[in-house]
């Protein structure tokens, strides 16, 4: 155990690509925590998806031993937090587990929206913040401008910002010194009852559930019986250790220390991020503040492309859910898509990550239906229920009002694209809350319905700003609006998987766009197919896909038989990827593409 005065706990706040992982790698390397020959890039990102996308999904931690210029030996604990808005709650817990943050800003780029959201979390957690300007080796680096921007936009003093190149190693020593001299040591009472925060947890195939903890008060030892304060569940600690970054056993963890425990916990679901861990026998009086159970906000259906793979999908989803308490699922039956699951996610990135993992790790091709948010449906009888799936919409005559979730969106964009961004937000029923400038960049804040954002807002934003905008949001609450369920009928039959909730004023435009898209996406059949958008029984948009008139091979003689048969067999395999709906085959991509809007 290390004396509190010689411990420093910190996190790194940065936008994607601003060099957080590279800086972490460099700190680990500079202190000799990992030998040079064992170095690989982005040590802390353990999942393929994390490494490929350069994002962090699970909190990772590493314990660094550092001999400072003052001659003293320090233990530095870095918690690498998820950087994405979908994981805002997880970030807030990680922030509470440390006392300071390095704010890493790319000196060629400047502050981005995501940096803002996370730095505010750090400020809220009373962190001491050390600004670090990265990528000074690049010719486009402009430290003075970016330092000024940090002061303008974030409001923290950046005159002493450390200038580094995580790539070349320049300035890394200064960062380590700043951690020791500028960040405060943790506080805590070794004699008090155990109070530890559950920072994160994950499933390890050898060890079972691994729990990342920060000890606030007291001492945690191997063999201790512990209690999870939110659920009351008790466990016996069978392993205790720290990350360097590989796991290493220790005898105990004392106040201010960060490490892991295993306690024969079967499911990650049984561990809640932000929960307080104490001793069963001598518990602490109060849990740590701020604990919240995970709440999915975006829902969509996941169906196997090949319906024979439903059971494989079930297994995959169950296994992933074991390791992810924030991911919810229940079985869903769709007339169009067969058996699948309605799944809840923290946000779109979370959705994509889970979908990617199912496709990649379990080799199951998926049809993903349009993401939907949770609507609050207030019935005339005074009851309210949460609508997760437009297919479950009750008879509108029994509904009093529908409320939808709203968000506060912050967008940073170079001013030449501002007009396009404002138009996009306006088109998505946004209400402008704020518009400020910092240099040649504008910061706009909009109140937007989450429903208008979950699907392709981010793609559209990237496309209208050529990738120069950054975007972040937080949920603000629910508000009633004139919302209706729009159905799509293909060949006179409603296709449940294409039903969407829309604002009444936008229904015609959306409906028209969807039926036009579907007309392009559905191949011509031997008969003509009406494609309609309808609200209730009323058709608001209609297209007709004309019948296939010519599809025949002009020449087919003895020498063509083999090739032609193979073509037919390929066609047959391709047909498997279509969903038969009534007499109509709908290609799987139609279920998502139909909803993409060009404006």
């Amino acid at each position: 155990m290390t004396d509190l005065s010689h411990i420093r706990n910190f996190s790194i706040v940065a936008h994607i690509d601003h060099g957080k992982s590279t800086l972490a790698d460099r700190l680990i390397q500079e202190t000799g925590t990992v030998k040079d020959r064992d170095m690989k890039e982005q040590l802390l990102d353990s999942m393929d998806i994390e490494r490929e996308r350069g994002i962090t999904i699970k909190a990772n931690t590493v314990r660094i031993e550092y001999d400072a210029d003052d001659g003293e030996h320090y233990v530095l604990n870095l918690i690498d937090t998820p950087g994405h808005v979908d994981f805002a709650y997880e970030v807030s817990r990680s922030m509470r587990a440390v006392e300071g943050s390095l704010l890493v800003v790319d000196s060629t780029q400047g502050v981005e929206a995501q940096t803002l959201a996370n730095v505010y979390q750090a400020i809220e957690a009373d962190h001491e913040i050390v600004p670090v300007l990265n990528k000074i080796d690049l010719p486009a680096s402009d430290c003075d401008r970016v330092a000024e921007q940090i002061e303008d936009v974030i409001g923290i003093d950046a005159t002493d910002a450390i200038r580094v190149s995580a790539k070349t190693g320049e300035g890394i020593h200064e960062v380590l010194e700043a951690i020791v001299t500028q960040l405060p040591p943790p506080k805590g009472d070794r004699g008090a009852p155990l109070k530890a925060m559950l920072v994160d947890s994950w499933y390890d195939s050898y060890l079972g559930v691994v729990v990342l903890v920060r000890i606030m008060d007291g001492v945690l030892k191997k063999g201790d019986r512990i209690r999870m304060m939110s659920t009351g569940a008790t466990h016996q600690v069978d392993r205790i250790g720290v990350f360097r970054p590989q796991m290493e056993s220790v005898d105990e963890l004392g106040p201010g220390e960060i490490g892991f425990i295993t306690a024969s916990i079967k499911q990650v679901r049984d561990t809640r991020v932000g929960d307080t861990i104490t001793h069963e026998r001598k518990p602490c009086a109060e849990p740590l503040p701020g604990f919240k159970p995970a709440q999915p906000v975006v829902f969509c259906g996941l169906f196997p492309v090949d319906s024979a793979e439903f059971e494989d999908l079930r297994t995959a989803i169950e296994k992933l859910a074991l390791n992810d308490a924030s991911f919810s699922y229940e079985m869903e039956t769709s007339a169009a898509l067969g058996f699948g699951f309605r799944c809840g996610f923290l946000g779109l990135l979370h959705l994509e990550v889970i979908r990617d993992r199912i496709e990649r790790e379990y080799d199951i091709e998926l049809i993903t239906t349009a993401p939907s948010v949770i609507y609050h449906i207030y019935m005339k009888d005074g009851s309210m229920f949460e609508l997760h799936n437009p297919a479950d919409m009750p008879d509108p005559s029994r509904i009093d009002r529908i409320e939808e979730p709203r968000i506060k969106a912050t967008i940073l964009v170079p001013d030449e694209y501002l007009g396009d961004v404002l138009k996009l937000c306006q088109d998505r029923r946004g209400i402008q809350l704020d518009l400020t400038y910092a240099g040649n960049r504008a910061m706009v804040v909009y109140d937007l319905p989450l429903n208008e954002v979950v699907f392709d807002f981010y793609d559209r934003l990237k496309s209208v700003t050529k990738g120069y905008a950054s975007f972040d949001y937080q949920l603000t609450g629910y508000r009633a609006d004139n919302l209706v369920k729009m159905q799509i009928l293909v060949n006179e039959e409603p296709v449940d998987a294409l039903s969407v909730m829309v604002h009444r004023d936008r229904a015609e435009t959306r409906g028209r766009a969807m039926v036009e898209k579907l007309k392009e996406l559905i191949p011509r059949h031997m008969f003509k197919i009406p494609i309609q958008a309808a609200i209730g029984g009323k058709v608001i948009a209609r297209e007709t896909l004309s019948a296939l008139r010519k599809d025949v091979t002009a020449k087919c003689y003895g020498g063509d038989a083999t090739r032609k048969r193979k073509l037919l067999e390929k066609q047959k395999a391709g047909k498997k990827k279509m969903r038969q709906f009534g007499k109509v085959d709908i290609p799987q991509e139609a279920f998502i593409s139909a909803l993409k809007m060009d404006t």
């Binding site: 031997m526 025949v552 091979t553 002009a554 020449k555 087919c556 020498g559 037919l568 066609q571 047959k572």
Partner: protein, 385 residues
Amino acid sequence: MAEDWTEGGFGLYIHWPYCAAKCPYCDFNSHVARQIDQAAWTRAYLAEIDRVAGELPGRVLNSIYFGGGTPSLMHPDTVAAVIDAARGRWTFANDIEITLEANPGSVEAGRFAGYRDAGVNRVSMGIQALNDADLRRLGRIHTVAEARAAYDVARTRFDRVSFDLIYARQNQSLANWRAELTEGLAMAADHLSLYQLTIEPGTAFGDRYKRGKLKGLPADELAADMYDLTQELCEARGLPAYEVSNHAVPGMESQHNLIYWRYGDYAGIGPGAHGRVTIREQRFATETQLSPTDWLQAVARGSGESLRTPLTGPEQAEEYLMMGLRITEGIDLRRYAALAGDPLSAEAIAELESLGMIATDGTRLAPTRQGRTVLNAVLAKLLAG
């Protein structure tokens, strides 16, 4: 029970791989060579006939077909030697049809008498278009006048003469095609092959098309209208379609091609020739060496065959269906079921029938005219079940 192939008969296909020039739309196995050793080719064909006949003894031969390439570049003696060799190894049916594909040029016309004397009783001429500009665009080396002259010679030399036209060409209007086909029908004897231009990958047209350089091709709607017009004009002239692209006075259909569509047995000889042959109750798909030189060398070593794949019952059923639905007589449902092991889906049949794509009397299943125009979709539906 008789072997399945007997329902379709037995034919011999001889592939001649050489052309005077390569046409930009053609994806057949054809080559341009300066010098052709006719004697070497004759020896190779005869050796292959011996080899194949050894495996298919005692058969009655319904047809011989010289295809290519441009078989009218064959010396009449070469053709005669092949026909004689076949006669020596199999019994010729009384009504055996012996067809040779011919280029409608003046040089070829000079050889027609020789072909007739060799035993050829039917020629199929690749006239392709009845205006010179389009012939040039199709890469043909003959003119309309030459074609007409060669055709007239052929009519005097052979009982049965057919010719090909290609339509749905670049910048062709419905009215253009009506005029051209009317002219063609005035010339026609008892058989016509009318093909819609198909852009095949790997051809000069295919490359141009991929680069967006092949403009003015008719859209599906116009192509479909052209097809319908073709059916009407041909029917009115007494040459109804008996297959997707083939029209004949009833009784004058190409017996050889009917073997393919009725899914009989056919031996394929020559470079890149495919066959379907039943040997000891197992049907095989056969292929030969594609390149002329490789094939000649392979034959010299004992066999020109490069691939022999046994076909399962369901594979044969699939082939029978896709070939059989091309012809107006359609397929025998019991024969299909016997090959497949299972009958075709009654539900799919009912749906296609209600759409007017097929007609069935419970024994046979035949495409309607409308069904023939979207045959690929009809097949996909039937095979998906």
